[in-house]
Each structure stands twice: as C-alpha cells, then as structure tokens.
C-alpha cells in the first residue's frame, strides 16, 4: 500500500479526495460547520444547549448524547477535530456503508462512550465537566483502527523493544491531554475504550442486520437518489479494493469537474488511483501539476474572486469587532507586575489632614478667578513651606489664532533617603478639560504633598505639578522635562529629578462628596498607559476603599454585552481621535504611565477617600523596582476588569486594511490583462485565457495619484493654520470645493487626456495600495484610527468605472453622491451633528491638538484618507476613452454591475 507523503501531495488529488468524500462524512462535516456558525451569534447559547453536561443529563435532555460531537468550543477546535475526523470517518464509511455508519454513529458508538464518561464523571469523580466536540469519535475510530493494525502487524520493533501497535492511540491520548489545553482526558479515554471493544468485535451485535439494510436501500432506491452514497454491497470489497475496479463503476451521480485534465474518476478506490499515478511515471505527474497550476491561474473564477474576498475581509473585520466583548474573546484583567502589590498597605491619610485640606481649600477658593501668575505667587509659599523645592516654567503655544500661555508651578519632594534617580508625578491642573476650576483637586494635592513629606519610605522623588490648564501646561512641562521642547515657546526646567516612573492626575472639580471614581486613561495619539497601572488603581479603589470605578464615561455599567461593547467603542473612538483627554495624556508618549482620577456622582465618599486612593497608588508605584513593563500597552478595555489584548483585536483592523491591498493587486493583474482583445470561447468546458499580457502605461496614473497626495497638503495646512474665526467659513468652502473638485478633475481627464480603463484601474490600484500600506502600519500604532478610517474608506475598494450605457450617467451620479456621503468632510459634519458639537470647536480642538500635543490624526485624515477618497471619486466619475472595442467587453469580466462571466 503506497504511503502518501508530503512530496506527493498535489492539489488535484486533494481536491479529488474532497469531492469524493462519502455522504455521511459530508453530512457530519456540514453539521459541525453549521453548529459552529450557530455558535457565533449571541442570543442562543448553542454550547450550553448541546454539550454533554453530566449534571444536566435527564430524560428530556438525552438529545445531548447525540448533539455533543457536533458542537465545538471555537473555530480552532472545530477545525482541528474536523481535520482529524475526516480521513477516519471516510475510511469507516466506505468500508461499512453509509447506512451502517449512520446507525452506529447515531447509536452505540456515540452513546456508549458518552454514558461511560457521564458515569465516571458523575459518580466516581463527582465532578461536572461539560464536554463537546468530535474528538471522542476520533478516538473511537482510532481505537478500531489500532486493533485492526494490531491484528495485521502486532508489534512495532524499535531496538529490542516490541511495542504493541494497539498502544499508539494511548500515546496520542497522552500527548493530546498534555499539549492541548482544556481537552477532556476522560472523554477521550472513554472513546478509545469503546473503540477497542468495537475493534475486537464485541459490538458486532449492535450493527443493524445486513438484510434489513439492503431491503431499506432497495425500497427507497437510495443508491439512485443520493449522491456519494456508499451502498451496503460496496462495503464487501471495501476500501482495500480487493475486487477489480472494472467490476462496477460507482453508481454515483457526481457532476464531472470542469477540467481539461482527466481526473481519475474511480470514486471508491482512492488507493488504486494513487497506485496508478505513482506507477505511471513521475513525468506525467509533473506535467499534470504544472498544467493544473496554469489552469488555475487562468481560471476565470480566480479573477472573479478578489472583490468577494475583499468584501469578506471587510465583513469579517467588522464582525470580529463585535465578537470581542464576548466572554470567549476577552479576558479578565490581572496584575502582572508582582512588585506593585496594590492595596496591600494600610493608608493613613485622613484625620487632622482634613483640617489642613479645608484650610488649603479656603486658600484656593480665594484665588479663583485670579491670573495665573497671582495664583502661583500665592501657592508657591505654601508649597515651599512644606519643605519642597519649587520652580516655575513659562510656556506659550499658538494655535488656531489663539495664544495658550501660562506658567507651571512644580515642586519636588525629594525622597528622604533616595537619590534623584527616579520620580513619580502628582498632577493637579487648575482647570480641567471642561474648564472647570479644580476646586478640590488642588487643595487635595497640596495636602497629600504635606502628608507624603512625613513618610520616610519613598524610594522615588515625588513631583507635585500644578498647571494652569489640563492640556498645554502638562505638555509643556513633560516636553521640557525630557528636553524635547522648543526653547522659544517653552522654557527649560530649572529643577529636575530622575526618570519619571508614573504619574497620577487629580481632577476633582465637583463640589461635595462623590460616589465613584472615573479613570481616564487615553493618551495622545491613542497611546495607552500600562494596563498594570489601571488595574492597580481599580484594585485599590474597589478592593481596598470600596469605591466603584467607571471607565469611558460609562457611569452605569452592568457588565453585559451591550455595556461592554459601548465602553469599548467609546474607548476606540477616543483612541482614534487621538486627543488629549486629561493632564495625564501628555505623559504617555514619553513612556511614563499615567491616569487621571475624576470622582463623579452623589455619594458618601469624601476628599480623604480619594486621597487614600492616591496614597495607595503612590505606595504601589513606589514599590516598583523596574519601570512598568510587564503587562499590556495595547489593549481595549470594555469593563474595569475585562480587556482584549492586541493579539485578539488586531486582526480586525488588519483584515480591513488587507482588503485594500488585495484589491490593489487584483487591479494590477487586471490592468495588465485587459488590453489586446481576448477571445472568449464559450463552446467548450475549458476556458482559454481571455486576455494576454499588455503594456501598462504607468506615468499618467502615477501622476494622478501623486497629484491627489500633493493636494492633500493644502487642507492639512489650512485647517491647522487658520485663525479660529475663519475655521467655519473655511470648512464650508472646502466642503463645497471638495464636492466640485472630482467632477472638474474627471472632466479634465476625460477631455484633455485619453485615459483608458486600464489607466483608471492603475489609478485605483496605486491609491488602494497606498491606503492599505498606510493603514496596516497605522494599525500597530493606533488600532482604532486605522479601523475607523479603514471602514469609512471600505467603499473605495468596490467602486468601478461605469461602462457606457444609457443609464450609466444616472448610475454614475448616484454613486458619486453616495461616495460623497463618506467623504472626510461629510463624516466630520455628521459626527459633529451627532454629538451636538460645533464644527468650529471640533476644528479648533484638532488644530490645538496638532500644535500642542502633536496629534497626528489630521495627517491620517487629510493625507491618507482624503487622497484615497479623491481617487475613488475620480474612478466613479470616470469616462474611459475606448482603447478598443474588445477592451470594453472584457472589462465586464468582473465589473460589479454586470457580472456576466465569459466561458460559462
């Protein structure tokens, strides 16, 4: 019996094998696939319904005994089991017949191991582990095979050891149990035992009598009605092909595959076929392989594939996102850095410190409404009186025609026994992002500084930073601290400490007591702090202080799918915008992990409670021996204790980005084929190639794409350098121009040049190639931005020039209008309307972010998305010059609107 090897693998044979799979095997595979698809939706938990749960097994739920092999934990589980099951089941079926297989696999071969498992699990182990999956069948079949092999070939001789061959499944069983997580050893063992028993022939009595089967078969004419059916009679000569193949050609009614190369059609004798092929000479085999590969390349179905593939990618990418909040795809958070020990220390902040806090609050209230310098003049003596070293820093930023200037006041509490090698920062901005006075935050920071001064256990310096605002002040300070500032706008720091290891900002503008704590963690450009920091604060606030924690302005979170999804989407939107969300945001680009704590709600927690949370967090940070590096820097939080890590969510954005690249490649291939008149012959099954290679004219398409990219600098510059008052008029003008520009350009192209269809294809190809490249690299830096832009730009993959026809003008206009709805300007306007924001304030914030914090989202919008959109609009409005009559005809090969495929 020739053994199949890797070198002898051919796609044709694999295909033939798949096409010849007998009926029951197909049905089982289909059922597995079906149940997996059923398991994807969230409303009905298929797994809970169908799994074999020992405790839930009653009379009414006996169906579980038969359903559990079809249901799988996840796609990998299903795929692996299907792969293992297919060859074994195919052998079994072709040997014993479809009816027998059906009877046995819906009868004893499933129920016996299941009963055995339930009995052991329930009454001996007294546990209740649910099992599912077809792997039990795999082991049943393996056991049978092993006994059969044992009869023919009892020992495997290695050295002087005689290893009985029937033990091989046991080795596999152990390997699977050791290497595959959450595999059921007991379930597999039960399957294997039944397999052994069956293989030894003790279960023969359970098989239905042949007479009955034959009668059924004859009565129902199953052989004639069902394709791929393996008859009862066929099993007599089985898979070993003992009888000559000429005896009876298989009575199946398989449609012949559309191949010019003759495929051996002996359905029931795979071994014979392979035997023939191996002995007929390798030269023929080689030839066959090459021909088949060429055939595949010219197969019109291959050329038709990319748009569908691309659409599939977009859909899968989008659906993937909605799977993430499920329990199976997200994980519970955990503290990875053991040194943090959050909540392990007593906190002592309180008592008479509250008297001090009240005094400081009086001082701060007296300063409300005064100028920045006056405030600092009053605060500096207070801080100095605590024994801290103080210094000030001036900064001036110009953005959107305004000047953002101010003076930071900061103080260093030197670690009592430490060296100036490391530092932690406590930030309190005079105004929060909503421009409310940080009425309680500033006094709390001062009181905490005084309290921290009394401790001798600090191993790191503590820097108290009081900034006039929440965005520009911290940015100026952090830039200057790392010497990355522009000295003409931001002053250097006169006083410095060591490496910054973490920062916590207090934003407590609300008057009175609070209920819960809101952790703001988004950094500039969607960068995030180490997850360990957030987890520590959550653990301290919830576990130690009993203060609830909210994320992403989800004031109430019930931890169900909807709330998780909403939290995640809000987080993604913020990440995508890349704006600074608090004083902490500026720290994160410098690899300083930082969060802002903002109390909210009406409750009974007072300022001292927030102070104790900060104290606990500082004690944790103080414990750090190394910079935070253990946990995740790329994650999506969907609940305070649930997250998705980059490995799970990244494929979504990557798939969306890949769709552009696939289309670009397809267009490139197509542009090289479309010229030169293809002869489509529809009279035979074989398809002669419709097109032959043609010269690609690259210069004009490249010029157009370059023009689009160069034009993109104009909006980028204008929107970032125009004074605030001019932003709204500019936006309106730009939106109008944006609508008019593509028709004008398209008209110019149509009248001044002879742009052929292939050249339009190339324009789209280059533009999509750039888009795919930019977005896939961006996905690793700012996942959310890449995904949002990718989804908004997805229609650009599918736009095609309309072939001239009476209605094409109408179609063209309709399509252009639709495409205009997803233009950057339209999306910006829609977003502003949806969130009830002023377009002017949105644009101003973007300009400020561009100048102060260095947000790069405008670059992505104007220089990546907008040029691609412009190119897409040109494609829609294209009126290609007729290169030749046949070119237009061949273009129909896979144009989206008329999908007539030649050769069918």
């Amino acid at each position: 019996m020739p053994t199949p090897n890797v070198a002898g693998f051919s796609t044709l044979r694999a295909r033939a094998y798949l096409f010849r799979l007998p009926l029951f095997t197909r049905a089982v595979l289909a059922a597995i696939g079906l149940f997996w698809i059923l398991g994807v939706q969230v409303w009905w938990d298929v797994r809970a319904w169908g799994a074999l749960v020992p405790d839930k097994l009653g009379f009414a739920t006996l169906y579980r005994l038969n359903t559990f092999p079809f249901i799988h934990l996840n796609v990998f589980h299903a795929l692996m089991n299907a792969l293992a099951l297919t060859p074994l089941l195919e052998r079994f079926e072709s040997e014993y017949g479809t009816l027998t297989s059906l009877a046995l696999f819906f009868g004893p071969l499933t129920t016996l191991p299941a009963f055995m498992y339930v009995a052991v699990e329930k009454w001996i182990l007294r546990a209740d582990t649910a099992v599912m999956g077809a792997s039990m069948w795999v082991f049943v079949l393996l056991g049978m095979e092993a006994i059969r092999t044992y009869k023919a070939n009892p020992y495997l001789v290695v050295g002087t050891h005689h290893i009985p061959t029937w033990t091989t499944p046991i080795a596999l069983l152990l390997c699977v149990a050791a290497l595959v997580p959450s595999s059921s050893f007991l379930g597999h063992l039960a399957g294997l035992l039944v397999g052994y028993i069956c293989g030894l022939g003790y279960l023969k009595f359970l098989a239905p009598p042949e007479r009955v089967l034959r009668w059924v078969e004859g009565k129902l004419n199953l052989l004639g009605r069902l394709p791929h059916y393996v008859s009862v009679d066929q099993k007599t000569y089985g898979r070993f092909g003992v009888l000559p193949s000429s005896g009876s050609p298989p009575p199946t009614s398989v449609a012949l595959p559309l191949y010019p190369y003759p495929v051996p059609e002996h359905q029931a004798q795979p071994s014979r076929e392979s035997f023939c092929e191996e002995h007929l000479g390798t030269a023929a085999g080689q030839d066959a392989k090459i021909t088949s590969a060429l055939q595949l390349r010219r197969d019109p179905r291959i050329l038709k594939l990319p748009p569908y593939l691309s659409l599939l990618f977009v859909v899968v990418g989008a659906v993937w996102l909605f799977l993430l909040p499920l329990d199976q795809y997200s994980r519970r958070t955990y503290i990875s850095e053991n040194a943090l020990l959050p909540g392990q220390v007593h906190t002592y902040f309180g008592g008479s410190d509250q008297n001090v806090f009240r005094a400081y609050k009086h001082e701060v209230n007296a300063l409300a409404g005064k100028s920045n310098v006056e405030i600092n003049n009053s605060l500096e003596p207070i801080v100095k009186g605590l024994g801290l070293k103080t210094a000030r820093q001036n900064f001036t930023y110009h953005a959107a025609g305004r000047t953002y200037a101010g003076e930071n006041l900061y103080a260093i509490l030197q670690a009592p026994r430490g060296d100036a090698t490391e530092a932690i920062v406590l930030v309190a901005a005079w105004e929060n992002v909503k421009h409310e006075l940080n009425r309680n935050g500033i006094p709390l920071a001062l009181t905490l500084a005084r309290y921290f001064k009394r401790w001798s256990l600090w191993s790191k310096d503590i820097i108290l930073l009081l900034t006039p605002d929440s965005i520009a002040g911290p940015q100026a300070w952090v830039d200057a601290y790392h010497d990355a500032h522009d000295p003409s706008r931001v002053a250097s720091l006169p006083l410095k400490s060591g490496l910054l290891q973490g920062a916590i900002a207090i934003d407590y503008a609300q008057e009175g007591r609070f209920e819960s704590l809101h952790i703001v963690y988004d950094g500039v450009n969607g960068q995030l702090p180490n997850l360990d920091l957030i987890n520590s604060v959550v653990s301290i606030a919830r576990g130690q202080m009993g203060i609830d924690v909210a994320l992403q302005e989800m004031w109430r979170h019930s931890d169900d799918y909807k709330d998780r999804l909403r939290t995640m989407l809000r987080g993604m939107l913020k990440q995508g915008l890349g704006l600074a969300s608090g004083p902490h945001s500026s720290f994160i680009p410098y690899h300083v992990d930082a969060v802002t704590l903002r109390p909210f709600g009406e409750g009974w927690q007072d300022e001292m409670a927030l102070g104790r949370v900060v104290e606990g967090s500082f004690r944790s940070l103080n414990n750090l021996l190394e910079h935070l590096h253990q946990s995740f820097f790329f994650y999506l939080l969907m609940h305070r204790e649930r997250f998705v890590s980059i490995g799970t969510y990244l494929p979504s954005a990557m798939l969306v980005a890949a769709n552009f690249t696939i289309m670009a490649i397809a267009l490139w291939v197509k542009s090289g084929h479309s010229e030169g008149g293809g002869q489509a012959t529809a009279d035979s099954k074989t398809v002669t190639p419709a097109n032959h290679a043609a010269e690609r004219d690259l210069s004009l398409p490249l010029g157009v794409v370059t023009l689009c990219q160069v034009l993109s600098v104009i909006p980028l510059y204008l929107f970032n350098h125009v004074p605030e008052s001019a932003l709204t008029p500019l936006f309106i003008t730009f939106a109008l121009l944006n609508t008019l520009l593509p028709p004008v350009l398209s008209h110019l192209l149509a009248t001044k040049t002879t742009f052929t269809l292939a050249q339009y294809d190339l324009v789209q190809c280059f533009s999509l190639l750039l888009l795919g490249m930019f977005l896939s690299s961006l996905a690793t830096l700012n996942f959310s931005l890449a995904l949002i832009i990718g989804l908004l730009a997805a229609p650009l993959s599918f736009v095609r020039p309309f072939s001239p026809s009476p209605t094409s003008g109408l179609k063209r206009i309709a399509c252009a209008v639709l495409l205009n709805a997803v233009s950057p300007t339209a999306v910006l306007l829609a977003g502003a309307l949806y969130w009830r924001l002023d377009v002017r304030s949105v644009l101003r914030d973007a300009a400020v972010a561009w100048h102060v914090t260095g947000t790069y989202s405008p670059v992505v919008v104007w220089c990546v998305w907008w040029p691609a959109w412009l190119a897409g609009q040109l494609i829609v409005l294209a009126r290609p010059a007729p290169a030749s009559a046949s070119a237009r005809r061949s273009n129909g090969a896979w144009a989206g609107d008329d999908g007539k495929v030649k050769g069918e």
Binding site: N355, V356, P416, A420, L499, H627
Partner: protein, 610 residues
C-alpha cells in the same frame, strides 16, 4: 639579646607611661561629635574618630589603636594612602548650605574607593588593586570586588594625595579609583566600620551609632581615610580617620521606634496659623516651621552617650553643638558646658563614666521674629562655592544627553574646578558634542570656560570612559555643561535581573581648586571644596525577556514529551542482558563469590592433592 632587652624596656616604658596618662602615648586617639541644627528641622551629626600609629610600629606589626585587620590588608596590597566612602541620599545644598568638611569626607551614592598603591608597573598596580578591593570587600561586607577593570579609572587631575609622601615613593605611586553607584549601603557595612574603632561602639560617642537611625537619615556618608602624616621634626605616623556624617530629620527621628508610622496627629495637636481668618476647630492652616525646634539627644538618637571612651584624648571635648548662644540647652549633671568665643557654638566635657543627655529647647519668640520661617534659631548656613545639578536630557532608547548645571553663587569670585565623570562603557559619549555655555550669554563668552580636557575613551566590555574637564564658572553665573551619548545594545546575558530598572551612572566629582595658590611643580593644586552630583539612572534598550522564555518553555515541553522518549530509544545502543558486564552491588558480590569459590576450589584441590 640586646633587641629583646630593648623590647622589654620599651614595653615597660610604654606601660608606665600609659598608666600615668593613657593619651600621651605616641598613638593617640581623638573622637568628637559635632551637632549642628540645619534649617527645615534637620540636624547634622558629624562623628569623627582619629588615631595614629608610627611607621616603625606599623612596620613591626605592633598595632595598638590602629585596626589590625585593615593594617594587614594595607601592608599586603602595598597601599600608601586609602580613601573609602559609603554614602546614601543626597546633600540638599539649597537648604543646608555648604557641605561638612568642605566635602572632603563624602562620596557619591553607593561605594567609592580610591587609593595610591606602590607599584613599579601599571600591571602590578592593577594586581594590587585587585587584592585590595577583594580584601576590603570581605572586611566591609560590600560588593567592592565588583570594581573590576570596567569600573576602575586612573584620574589625572581630580585627586591629590592628602598625606605627606617622601619624594622617593611619589614616583611609583599609582592612583586608582573605583565606584559602585548601585551598591546599597546598609547596616552590614556599619558593623565592620564600628569594629575598627578602639572602643567598638561600646563607649563614647560611638554608642549613639545605631543602624536604625543612621540608615533612616536623609543623607549619610561613612568615610575611612588612611594617610601618612609627617609632622615637621617628628616621626612619620600613619593616620586613620573614620568619619560618619548624617543629616537627621528631627521630626522623623523623634517618632517612637515602636510606632514609626506618621499618623495624622489629633486635630488639637496640630500647630496652626491662627492668624488666618478662616481658622477654626476643624480648619487649620499648618504652621509646620514652628514644630520640631526642640529635641534631645535621646529623642533623636534613641539613647544617651554612655560615658567616654577611656582611650580618648581628654583634652578634646567629645561633643560640640553649633547653635546660637541665645538658645538654652539643658545638660546632664557633671557635664561642663564651654561656650566658644564665636557665640555660635559650645562644647561639652563629659565625665568618663557618666551618661550624657542634652535637651535643646525651642527658640524664643524673639529669635523667631528675626529670621525667616524654617530657619528659626539655627545658624545661617554657609553658602557653598558652587551648586551642581546633573540630569539626563532627551528620551528614547537610542541616544541621550547629560546636562550639568553649575551655578556660582558668589557675586565677585570666579570658581575653577575639575569636573570628573566615570561613565560605563555602554554609554558611548560623543566628545565633540561637549560644550559649556553660560546661561543668557552669547557664544563669545563660552570659549574660555573649558580650560583642559583629559579623556580616556571606553573600550567595549573592557573599560569605562574617564572624562576630566578643568573649567571655570565666572562670578554670579550659571554654566550648562552638556554632552551627548549613544546607548549600546547589550548582549542578552549582560543584562542584570532587573534589566528594566536601568543602569546606574556614578556621580560626577567636582573638585574646586584653590584659586590663590600658584600651580605646584607637579601640576596639581590643592582642593578647597569637593562636591558630588547625584547618580543617574540610564535606561538602555531592553528586550522582552519573557518572550524567549515562553518560547523556550513551550518548545522544551513539546520536545521533552513528544520526542524526548522516542529519541532516547532510537539513539541508545541496546544489548542483550547477558552480553554486557554486570554492574552494581550484585556484580560486586558475584565477583567476590567467584573469587571465594576459586580460592575454595584451589584449597580443596591442594588438600585433595595431599
């Protein structure tokens, strides 16, 4: 015979002399504690212990007050002069003023060692240095043995011998300098330090030295200096001076030892500023500067001084307090208070067996009115000659920069000094980027700032960078000294276990030169003031160590489970059980049995023959 006689005579003589007056012997011993309250409720305590031994006695290994363990090391390693420093924390020059001893008795954070060794060649000096560091490492329980070639430098300008060396030995004396910035100084270093003292911390001022208090100090430095002193006309002596300086936070030290947690005090005990309009029973603007001006020796150190060391020279008062005369100090009975004529310090003579306790009362309100808050009732700190602060600039894992801000507070005097950096080899400094500029001036002024540069470049994994810059800072100006460097990528195994912490860079040593004295013939000028910057933490590009770890673990498991056993069976040579030689106990007994049987057989045959 004559030698023996003279020895007996000598010893008799010395015995008789010492019985008359213990301190008038040739090897005298001094100890003194100087207490000086500093602003912001800090207290500087300087302990100084000094003893001498003549060279002849030293050569004859007749150690009396000189610690024998240390002396033998010095002799073995051919050390002419030795300086060892253990330091922790930082000196806050802004509030505390000039450093004690003009900075001569302190080191940078960690351990610092420099010595002049007598050797003919550099190799011999290196060899002796190795012996010295290893021996000292054992003696002081410090990782001094980690001072290897990569951490050893040979400074040219910064250090000058403090002792008197005869011209014959000066020519083959080698200065070696090593520093361990990451070494954490702790109580295991204090115990051997105290053991070197004649009274071993059992009597005298050394009784106050307690690890809990010393290592809770805001700044502390332990120093050992050994140098030869040749008084004019007298015999040369070898002097050992042990110094401990520490700055205690009075408020922290006064906390009881069994309750050291700084819980908030009850509201009524909080010192408040009652002048505030909103002052009430639950609102209190703190007046912290008023607190902690009163303290006593037992509060601060946890104990009193148990008499004096009997070996001490009694002419020196053992305890001095630098505080204005206006402050009232209560002392134990039998102690004599002597106020010095400068009206700012007083000393105390302690009877040999009495306990000494001292209580400093809070300053009167008159004092408080005169001076600024935070510095009430203490001496105005002396302004140091130079302020220095060093920090990293730039960010990222590839390159960075070092910036030192040097500020000369004097309105009329220029300061000239040597700035020395010892950098590890993985910081590749770009010397061409080094520049000094005066804040707020144009480039023309900056040309003459750097006067001389001595640079010894690093060799990868062999030696570190040594950079000495002689420069000046004009009066009342601030100079920025900056240079850039590149971070090397280390080999996988060269990272320490806490790789993500970063790598410590030793403190820069700034030696201010005497501007009045002319240059000596040797080119060196005596130092008038020394200061050290803080050490730095340099983060290098660090790989994710868990990734290879995970891969290794996973593949190892797979291989061990799936392939290990199989491989073992295939590779091993199998032989039948009776083919190979038998091993083990059974084989041994079998062989013995065989021998025995043979013997018996032969015996039987012989008897049979007979």
């Amino acid at each position: 015979m004559r030698q023996l006689f003279s020895l007996i005579f000598l010893s008799l003589l010395s015995l008789s002399v010492s019985s008359v007056h213990p301190s008038s012997s040739s090897s005298d011993y001094h100890e003194q504690l100087v207490l000086r309250p500093l602003p912001l409720s800090a207290l500087l305590a300087s302990f100084n212990f000094r003893s001498n031994t003549t060279f002849s006695e030293f050569e004859a290994r007749n150690f009396r007050l000189f610690p024998r363990s240390l002396a033998q090391i010095l002799q073995h390693a051919g050390t002419r002069e030795l300086h060892l420093r253990f330091s922790l924390g930082r000196w806050d020059a802004e509030s505390w003023g000039a450093r004690p001893w003009d900075g001569a008795r302190e080191g940078g954070t960690g351990v610092e060692l420099w010595a002049w060794l007598e050797a003919d060649t550099d190799e011999e000096a290196d060899h002796k240095w190795l012996i010295l560091t290893n021996a000292l490492s054992g003696l002081f329980c410090a990782s001094l043995n980690f001072i290897d070639a990569t951490r050893t430098t040979r400074p040219v300008m910064s250090f000058q011998p403090e002792g008197d060396h005869p011209n014959s030995t000066v020519t083959n004396m080698h200065l070696l300098y090593g520093v361990l910035p990451h070494e954490v100084v702790c109580t295991e270093n204090l115990t051997p330090f105290l053991k070197l003292l004649p009274c071993k911390g059992k009597a005298g001022i050394a009784t106050l030295l307690d690890g809990h208090k010393l290592f809770d100090a805001s700044w502390q430095s332990m120093a050992i200096d050994i140098r030869p002193i040749c008084p004019s006309g007298g015999e040369c002596v070898l002097q050992i001076e042990q110094t401990i300086d520490m700055v205690l936070d009075i408020e922290r030290s006064k906390r009881p030892r069994d309750n050291p947690i700084p819980r908030p005090p009850p509201g009524h005990e909080l010192p408040c500023d009652t002048s505030k309009p909103y002052h009430s029973h639950d609102t209190c603007f703190p007046a912290d500067y008023k607190a902690n001006q009163d303290w006593s020796l037992s509060q601060v150190f946890g104990k009193t001084i148990k008499g004096t060391c009997p070996l001490m020279d009694p002419t020196n008062p053992p305890v001095c307090l630098q505080i204005p005369d206006s402050r009232t100090v209560y002392i134990s009975d039998g102690v004599v208070e002597k106020k010095n004529p400068d009206r700012n310090s007083r000393c105390f003579d302690i009877p040999p067996t009495a306990d000494f306790e001292m209580v400093v009362t809070p300053p009167s309100d008159d004092d408080a009115a005169q001076t600024s808050p935070g510095a009430v009732g203490v001496l105005q700190p002396e302004t140091p000659l130079l302020y220095a602060e060093r920090s990293f600039t730039g960010h990222g894992q590839e390159r960075g920069g070092v910036q030192t801000i040097l500020r000369n507070p004097s309105p009329d005097r220029e300061v000239e000094f040597v700035y020395m950096e010892t950098l590890p080899w993985f910081m590749r400094i770009y010397l061409h980027t080094m520049e000094a500029r005066i804040a707020g001036h144009n480039a023309a002024h900056n040309a003459s700032l750097i006067q001389q540069v001595s640079y010894r470049p690093a060799l990868d994994r062999a030696r570190g960078t040594q950079l000495e810059v002689r420069m000046r800072v004009p009066a009342a100006s601030t100079v920025f000294l900056t240079y850039d460097f590149e971070k090397s990528i280390l080999r996988y195994t060269e990272y320490p276990p806490d790789a993500n912490r970063g790598f410590d860079v030793a403190a820069a040593v700034i030696t201010i030169l005497n501007s009045n004295a002319d240059k000596d013939a040797a080119g060196g000028r005596s130092a008038v003031y020394t200061l050290r910057t803080t050490s730095l933490l340099c983060s290098l590009p660090t790989p994710d160590f868990s990734m290879p770890y995970n891969v290794i673990i996973f593949t190892s498991t797979a291989i061990a489970l799936a392939f290990g056993g199989m491989f073992n069976i295939i590779v091993r040579r199998f032989v039948a059980a009776d083919e190979g030689p038998e091993v083990g106990l059974g084989a041994l007994t079998g062989r013995l049995k065989g021998r025995l049987n043979g013997l018996l057989e032969r015996l039987r045959r012989r008897t049979g023959n007979k």
